[in-house]
Symmetry: C3
Subunit: 134 residues, 3 copies
């Protein structure tokens, strides 16, 4: 398998969109039983992160933290007004490598995969590649 693409239309300036089910579906369709699942976000104002997806307050609080960490500043030079979104992307990262076992993603009980939107609403893509490792 080459690459799959998950397409997401985000709704807010900042949001953490749970994409676990879409990734799981790609893993299952791949037929890979034991392997690795690589995710890549080809954007510079949105990233990928793992965190709790059971209780939605975790996402809410993560948003508060990201805004507090990277407030807007008068000395930012980037003209588009989204310098904080670029910096947040480097803080959470743009790629993840997950384990696949018995045909499914290996995740902790509370763990989900999130697209982290920092400059929405926008249309975003996440690339997914599933590789068997025997």
């Amino acid at each position: 398998m080459r690459m799959n693409t998950i397409e997401i239309s985000t709704q807010s300036r900042q949001e953490f969109r749970d994409i676990t089910a879409q990734v799981q579906e790609i893993v299952q369709r791949s037929g890979v039983q034991e392997g690795l699942c690589y995710l890549f976000c080809p954007h510079t104002t949105a990233g990928l992160t793992l965190n709790e997806n059971w209780d939605p307050t975790v996402r809410h609080d993560l948003g508060l933290v990201m805004d507090a960490l990277v407030p807007d500043r008068p000395d930012f030079r980037h003209a588009e007004g989204n310098a904080p979104a670029h910096a947040k992307t480097s803080l959470v990262g743009s790629q993840l490598t997950l384990f696949v076992s018995e045909g499914r993603l290996v995740l902790g009980s509370w763990q989900g995969v999130f697209l982290a939107e920092f400059d929405g609403p926008r249309r975003r893509r996440v690339l997914v590649k599933v590789v068997a490792t025997g």
Copy 2:
């Protein structure tokens, strides 16, 4: 090889536990000479990071930084009181991919692999997969 598990009982609310030797041992037992070593932390209030493991003051200072970056806030909604631990986990990340060469992990002179505990003390697991790449 499918997956190995490293089990760690952390001792403090926040600590950086050096697991380099355990990962190195799994790499050596795998028999892989040239390849990759994938680490995954299936928790949402603990992560994985690379940093200096020679001088323990580096870990101490990293703890000061993490606490300063994510203080508790009255407007956090997550009821368990560990919202900062969740956010710190997204900042350092939950997975690492390391190189294996000549049967050993490739690390810089001062570099070690740490489990980053942010909501301890707890029992934690780190999953490890070693793959030959020829």
Copy 3:
């Protein structure tokens, strides 16, 4: 292919050096058409990150953010004076996994690969491994 090394001499205390072209060249020389490109930074005061490489103001603003996030502190114990550089490295991370398709890195339109120097000027290395996945 085992490992390639990119060597970089940084010029400043903190800088984001665009290494996209060097990585792209290694990918093309590898002959891999469909696969993965693994990058690893074997230092503890420099990391790797993806961000916009078209407009240099993004890099400038990212530097402002990193300095604001991790100021020096009187209670840092690490004697070399570069405790902030160690912490910044754990925040951006030391490794990246990129996709390769049709013989080239898969990157978003504005996306580039940066060595993030936090304790320069120094000589730095980035290890690169390209693996075919079929």
